[in-house]
């Protein structure tokens, strides 16, 4: 398994501002992902964070709104830009080491007012 930490764990932000979420994995992993989740619901993949290259975004998510960095094999950031109340959600970082199993961080609960 992999131990994944995220910062911040929660935040309340004003409309129009940006928030950067950090994700740290305790060991090198092949793939890192960012998800969004409404409480009690399933996960929606935002993007795959590629080491050394641009992230791969899913339909409905764009780089200008959710810029992602992955400078090395253990760290990634997700920025939620120009926030609106619709961005209020739980943001989860995930990592895949090998095989098809993914491990998750504890999540960042974002509230936009």
């Amino acid at each position: 398994s992999a131990v994944i930490s995220q910062k911040p764990s929660r935040d309340i932000c004003q409309r129009g501002t940006s928030l950067t979420i950090q994700c740290q994995v305790d060991s090198q992993v092949t793939m890192m992902f960012w998800y969004r989740q409404q409480p009690g619901q399933s996960l929606t993949l935002i993007a795959t964070a590629n080491q050394g290259s641009e992230a791969t975004y899913e339909s409905g998510f764009v780089i200008d709104k959710f810029p992602i960095s992955r400078p090395n094999l253990t760290f990634s950031t997700l920025t939620v830009s120009n926030m609106s109340p619709e961005d209020s959600s739980i943001y989860l970082c995930s990592a895949r080491r090998r095989g098809y199993e993914q491990y998750f961080g504890p999540g960042t609960r974002l509230t936009v007012t």
Partner: protein, 113 residues
Amino acid sequence: TQLLEQSPQFLSIQEGENLTVYCNSSSVFSSLQWYRQEPGEGPVLLVTVVTGGEVKKLKRLTFQFGDARKDSSLHITAAQPGDTGLYLCAGAEVWDSNYQLIWGAGTKLIIKP
């Protein structure tokens, strides 16, 4: 893109009862994972099933992968309040060197003492 139908979406039962959660697809997965998520935490991997017909047991939880690798079930025997949480299934779709997890909608399980 494959779809993974998970049912039921919500289940509230008394302690000691048995229950089964289902995940079904019309397509074949390379493997299927089951996760449990508690409020304020990220999903935690419970088990991965890979081979058609495979059965894995984790204490009172029994996981089965269908013979054709299109469906899976999670059976809990004598449910306890500690089993309360959101259960998610995820099928691994692999093609060429690409990979993605297809997520079920989740089952919110409440075990009443």
